[in-house]
């Protein structure tokens, strides 16, 4: 077999590479007949540029090794604990304006959403439970039910889910893009501890704002419930008495404490996702997703633990 190029007057690099791939498919060099000089030169140049592909380097993100991931997570938790313990010596690495900025971003700006969702939640809960309760003539007790479930469970849980979705993703994306841009490396070479400078202010902001968010959500939910109950014709004073009788301060503070724990879990996990951002443009998005998923899963997991704990303690 031979290639006859005698009719060919012009050939570009793409044409040359097509000819070469034909040759490669054939398995051996083909005699080229009648090519004009510029085509011969072009083919020689294209031939010289063909190099066997090197082995693909295995990157960290290519092989998500479970054992190493767990090891990394444990090491990171240790670093967070160390950062807290050594904070007096490293207090200058914690920048207070950062803390205020994160508290504003995670807390103040979330308030409208918290109020809206809390109110709707109270409204829906009250309405849905009123229908079956009415059959037993017990619709007054909807107030008790909603108050207890909001203060003990739904308030902190929903606030944590909102924190994970709104703020956890932002934490992970911010730290992730710093990682991609080598800013985290720069911190390390400046002997500034990245955990102290990047994670602690976010963690403190989350711990600070979560009880407030949960409390606001509780109040908004109770208002939603009150809306439904007054619609059913109950006077405000009756509803208030009912709530007062059902919910103890212990329910409220237990819930707020849970909220604090959920908030710290969300912050720690989303910062971990950010610090573990891989390479490439998709990595930051993946880190944000991991932060939200991890934050919500951890919150619900912790909530289960709290249920067992509170039950054992008889709270």
């Amino acid at each position: 077999m031979a290639v006859d190029l005698s009719g060919l007057v012009y050939c570009d690099l793409s044409g040359a590479s097509l000819l070469l791939s034909m040759e490669a498919a054939h398995g051996a060099a083909l005699p080229i007949l009648g090519a004009v000089p510029h085509v011969t030169a072009l083919l020689a140049r294209a031939r010289a540029s063909v190099t066997p592909a090197g082995p693909r380097a295995a990157t960290r993100s290519a092989s998500p090794n479970l054992v190493r991931a767990v090891g990394d997570a444990i090491a990171y938790l240790g670093e967070v604990v160390c950062a807290v313990l050594f904070l007096p010596a490293r207090r200058r690495m914690l920048r207070w304006p950062d803390l205020l900025r994160f508290a504003d971003q995670a807390g103040v700006r979330a308030i409208p959403l918290i109020i809206l969702l809390g109110y709707l939640m109270g409204l829906i809960l009250a309405f849905q439970s009123a229908v079956p309760m009415r059959r037993f003539g017990a619709d007054l007790y909807v107030a008790n039910l909603v108050a207890i479930s909001l203060l003990r469970e739904l308030g902190p849980l929903l606030a944590a889910v909102i924190l994970a979705g709104r703020t956890g993703s932002a934490f992970a994306a911010e730290i992730g893009s710093m990682k991609v841009n080598q800013e985290v490396d720069a911190l390390v070479t400046m002997s500034i501890d990245p955990v102290t400078m990047l994670v602690l202010p976010r963690l403190m902001a989350a711990i600070l704002v979560m009880p407030a968010l949960a409390l606001i959500l509780d109040v908004a939910g109770l208002l939603g419930m009150t809306t439904v109950m007054t619609g059913f014709g109950y006077p405000l004073i009756t509803i208030a008495r009912q709530v007062q009788a059902a919910a103890t301060p212990l329910d409220l503070f237990g819930g707020l404490f849970k909220g604090m724990c959920f908030g710290s879990a969300v912050a720690v996990i989303s910062c971990f996702a950010g610090l573990n951002t891989g390479v490439g443009p998709r990595a930051v998005g993946q880190a944000a997703t991991a932060a939200v998923v991890g934050g919500i899963v951890a919150t619900i997991f912790l909530d289960g633990l709290f249920s067992i704990l509170f039950y054992r303690l008889g709270l």
Partner: protein, 253 residues
């Protein structure tokens, strides 16, 4: 005394050996350059020298601290207090102005009052020709400006050892020459040691006291070191085809 001692360092990423068995020494108070084609592992080498990447094998000693091996973590921490690093991308903190970027190390590691910090930071930015841009954010400046701001930040604490990754890439010839003059000035006046990664031939011949040259194809199956010494002598005397190609643009057929 040598500022850095590298012996038998190999770096593998998965199946690829980026370089094998690299050894060199950087003497106190000299400008040392790491040369080589794009992708031969210069930034990787630099990451090892500043303690961000542990070499697969080999030992590295920087300013008397051993930063590799089992006890390397302590050495790395001690070493990182004494060096300044400029990354290839600048790696400025995106949420701070240039002035705040340079002030950050001063804020954390010195007891200067705020106006003293600002004065020092302004002076460092002025040295790299950015005195007019101190209030800009990293997103608002050009690539060459980001590099120079990175140099100013690396110099913030007047470290005795500075690492610069391609300081003059992307700069015009005048700014690049000014930067070369700054590097030589700091070497002569303060005795600062420099490790500079660069491809700029003019810059290498102007500033480098000694150099090491890496190549992707030093071994049949791996990259490595192909030459080291005074770059002017390498240019005039080396017989290695890649060294000749680099310095004299004589590309082997």
């Amino acid at each position: 005394m040598s500022a850095i001692r590298v012996s038998g360092v190999t770096q593998r990423f998965g199946a690829r050996t980026i370089f094998r068995d690299v050894s060199f020494e950087v003497r106190d108070g000299e400008v040392f350059t790491i040369l080589g084609g794009s992708g031969c592992g210069k930034s990787t080498m630099l990451n090892q020298l500043v303690g961000l990447l542990a070499p697969t094998t080999g030992t590295i000693e920087v300013l008397g601290h051993t930063i590799t091996g089992k006890a390397g973590a302590e050495g790395r921490h001690a070493m990182q207090r004494e060096v300044g690093v400029m990354f290839q991308s600048g790696a400025l903190f995106g949420s701070m102005t240039l002035l705040e970027n340079v002030m950050l190390p001063l804020e954390i590691f010195t007891d200067l009052p705020p106006d003293g910090r600002a004065a020092v930071a302004r002076m460092k930015l002025g040295l790299v020709g950015l005195g007019h841009a101190t209030a800009l954010m990293p997103a608002e400046i050009s690539g060459g400006m980001a590099k120079r701001a990175g140099i100013a930040r690396a110099m913030a604490l007047d470290p005795p050892l500075l690492f610069l990754d391609e300081p003059s890439a992307g700069l015009d010839p005048i700014t690049s020459a000014e930067l070369d003059r700054l590097i030589l000035g700091l070497r002569d006046d303060l005795g600062t040691t420099f490790v500079v990664v660069t491809h700029e031939l003019a810059s290498i011949l102007a500033i480098a006291d000694r150099c090491v040259m890496l190549d992707r194809n030093a071994f049949p199956d791996a990259g490595g070191m192909i030459a080291q010494g005074d770059p002017r002598r390498l240019r005039d005397e080396s017989t290695h085809p890649m060294v000749r190609a680099f310095f004299r643009r004589e590309i082997p057929e």
